[in-house]
């Protein structure tokens, strides 16, 4: 039961983008090891701006 609840929470975090920072950090650690990492806030600010550059909401 606990495991299922955790899996559901993980899915919810993934769907909503709540875990975007964690995933970005994980990616950077692998792909760009040694480079400085953005803070949570820096990442959030740049992500929000990037996301709303194009068409991502429709009629």
């Amino acid at each position: 039961m606990m495991a299922r609840l955790k899996a559901f929470l993980a899915l919810l975090r993934r769907l909503s983008g709540d875990d975007a920072y964690d995933r970005h950090i994980a990616h950077r650690r692998v792909a760009h090891a040694g480079e400085p990492l953005p803070s949570r806030r820096e990442f959030w600010c740049s992500e929000v701006d990037r996301k709303w550059q194009g068409v991502n909401r429709c009629c």
Binding site: L11, L12, R13, R14, L15, S16, G17, D18, A20, Y21, R23, H24, H27, R28, A31, S39, R40, R41, F43, W44, C45, E47, V48, D49, R50, K51, W52, Q53, G54, V55, N56, R57, C58, C59
Partner: protein, 680 residues
């Protein structure tokens, strides 16, 4: 065993559809429609989409997608297929599939329902899946870029110009819908106004206090929104405070215009992004709740299968069932706008080409199902009530007595007492002439929710539905204004480079003002129009959206032919031909029809004659010159759409002809094959 299962699905679907089509009684249960729809989507997905994916698109799971090849942990991120499905569905599903079917219900439930089902399975779903794959194969290029790369500059410019104008019309009509829902309704107005500070609070939370904690912020925001719905009811009971939120349409239109301008120049994190989280959450939650409620409540549809208005005399908008049902319902059947999402954002998340089927075809099938639910919510109302809510005072008369007399004379009995009781139950002063579709949808949704979850809360459910529609209409309004601004800046940047810099404030202010002024103009005219405005703007939007679909299908057809698969080109060519026929017929009728309820020029002439003869009451005479100008402008806009779409079709035919006769064409812009790791 599997075959037996699919045979059973097909038989059930055919039985339900047959029952639906042949039924001629007093009323029919909504479950017939639900069963028919689910079976048709299942068959379409299992067989047709599989065939198109394998034969026409040659989907190849061994080919690495751009998300894998170009992974950067930001926009290019290989993502699980159900997560991409969720994102894509949330992006394509807006207010369109809710409003279109509600308006098209004036023809009866059957024409709209059939078009939603057939249009989606062979049109909209195929379009979305095809464009999604083509863009995935081109590293997530946008529709405009693909048009330029594969057809040439003419197709590219046409696609871009068409998109911009559609955006303007779309925002105006959505603004009008929201204004009509708030007009003289303190409860609705207070609730909708409250969504703005709530969104700002959530924005601050997710940036300053707990950066990136989307779930926490959303949970707080949704809770506050629910409190705002109930709080609006409290405000409505207070004799003094309720006056602060009681406005006529024109004042509210100015509010919406001012709001749109502020939202366009404010940073996204403050208003747009947080409200989008709230609206996405509400959208998915409410759609799921509605599906559950319909299945539990199993309401009877009271609207007949066909009404007499298929002959073109409909009170909500003029025009015969052909072609206007196909124009009115765009988003639930086929929507060109989807291709802008399917090219660009979504392809960069696809982790395997095999996922394109469920994301592209599947999301559209689900959106189509949302349209089916909206059709059910509209047609379960007494037809008399439906017409009383959705018909403008300019058509049925300004007093309640005149309106019920006119509507009853059409054969849809309704009484003043019935409407007053309904309005009181919904916590409104009146529901007469609330055009635009949102209020009647909210009444339908409230009835379903109340009969499933308890009758006591009708008024709260009604205002919850209004708030739910308002929140994502406002999101589309902001996002659309912003995209329009970027497109305008991009174009103006070619004239003078600094204007193209999206972070240069004078350019941001100037271009935002231009975009807001453009849709604000149509919104203003819609509000002062005694016939409601929706009757003009919605068909215009429908024509534009279907034409964008025709442009997307032209690009897809040209690419399929260039890949040497001309024998399969009918897959996109058939929906394209159908769209070309319906949009051209509708556009030509809108331009040349002598009936002032259909033709724009005819309406302008009719009004000018009445004005000259002094036949208009003083209030209408004052705004008549503006309405006359607007009808002419709309006619020219329709001519523009017609020209743009035929230019693109001609360009597609040119490229296809050159390919088939072995003449040189632009090379394919497909990214070269790279094998995916770990896929045999």
């Amino acid at each position: 065993m599997k075959r037996l299962f699919w045979l059973a699905v097909a038989a059930t679907g055919a039985y339900a559809l047959g029952g639906l089509a042949l039924h001629r009684g007093e009323s029919i249960n909504a479950l017939w429609i639900i069963v028919a729809a689910v079976c048709i989507y299942a068959i379409g997905f299992r067989f047709y989409s599989a065939w198109v994916a394998a034969r026409v698109l040659s989907i190849d799971a061994t080919r690495a997608t751009p998300a894998v090849r170009l992974e950067n942990g930001r926009d290019f991120v290989p993502t699980h297929r159900w997560v991409v499905f969720g994102h894509h569905f949330a992006a394509i599903a807006g207010p369109g599939p809710l409003i279109g079917p509600t308006l098209a219900a004036q023809f009866g439930y059957l024409p709209g329902t059939l078009w939603i089902l057939v249009g989606a399975v062979v049109g909209g779903c195929v379009q979305d899946m095809t464009i999604l794959l083509l863009s995935t194969r081109r590293n997530g290029r946008s529709l405009g870029q693909m048009a330029r790369d594969e057809l040439g500059p003419v197709g590219g410019i046409a696609a871009l110009a068409g998109t911009f104008v559609i955006m303007i019309i779309l925002i105006a009509v959505l603004g009008l819908v929201i204004v009509n829902a708030m007009k003289h309704s303190p409860w609705a107005t207070a609730t909708v106004f409250a969504t703005i500070p709530i969104a700002v609070l959530v924005g601050l939370y997710m940036r300053a206090w707990r950066p990136g904690r989307v779930l926490e912020g959303t949970a707080i925001g949704v809770t506050l929104l629910l409190i705002a719905v109930v709080g609006g009811g409290w405000i409505n009971e207070q004799p003094v405070i309720r006056e602060w939120f009681d406005y006529p349409g024109l004042t509210l239109a100015w509010f919406v215009i001012g709001y749109g301008w502020c939202a366009a120049i404010l940073p996204v994190w403050l208003l747009l992004a947080p409200r989008d989280y709230l609206s996405t959450f509400l959208k998915l939650g409410t759609v799921a709740l509605l599906a559950v409620a319909i299945v539990i409540a199993q309401p009877d549809l009271k609207m007949p299968a066909f009404t007499q208005f298929i002959d073109g005399t409909g009170p909500i908008f003029g025009g015969k069932v052909f072609p206007f049902v196909f124009i009115t319902i765009a988003c639930g059947a086929i929507s060109g706008f989807h291709t802008l999402v399917a090219s660009g954002t979504t392809p960069k998340l696809i982790s395997s080409e095999a996922d394109v089927r469920i994301v592209g075809y599947g999301s559209m099938a689900l959106e189509s199902f949302v349209a089916i639910m909206a059709m059910i919510a509209a047609t379960l109302l007494d037809p008399g009530v439906y017409f009383a809510i959705n018909t403008a005072p300019g058509v049925v008369g300004t007093t309640a007595e005149a309106a019920v007399a006119t509507i009853t004379s059409w054969g849809f009995p309704v009484t003043v007492e019935q409407m007053e009781t309904l309005a009181r139950n919904m916590g409104e002063s009146t529901l007469f002439g609330r055009t635009g579709g949102a209020p009647s949808l909210a009444v339908g949704m409230a009835s379903i929710f109340a009969s499933t979850f308890g009758q006591g809360m009708l008024a709260v459910w009604y205002h919850f539905a209004i708030m739910f529609e308002a929140v994502f209409i406002l999101t589309t309004l902001d996002a659309g204004t912003r995209v329009g601004r970027f497109m305008l800046q991009d174009t103006l940047g070619n004239v003078w480079a600094p204007l193209g810099r999206t972070s240069w404030y004078p350019s941001v202010l100037a271009s935002s003002t231009l975009v807001v002024a453009a849709w604000g103009y149509f919104l203003y005219i819609g509000v002062i129009d005694p016939n409601g405005g929706v009757n003009i703007l919605w068909p215009l939007f429908g024509i534009a959206n279907q034409m964008l679909a025709a442009i997307a299908l032209s690009i897809a057809t040209a690419i399929i032919v260039k890949q040497g698969k001309a024998r399969y080109a009918w897959v996109t060519l058939v929906p394209l031909a159908w769209l070309a026929i319906i949009t051209s017929t509708a556009a030509i009728q809108k331009i040349v029809s002598d009936d002032p309820r259909i033709g724009f020029f005819a309406a302008a002439r009719d009004l000018a004659d009445k004005l000259a003869a002094g036949a208009l009451p003083p209030q209408q005479a004052a705004v008549a010159p503006q309405l006359i100008f607007n009808q002419q402008l709309d006619a020219w806009l329709t001519i523009f759409f017609l020209v743009v779409v035929w230019v693109v079709i001609a360009d597609m035919l040119r490229v296809s002809w050159r390919t088939l006769t072995g003449k040189p064409v632009l090379p394919s812009s497909e990214a070269p094959y790279v094998a995916a790791k770990g896929v045999a």
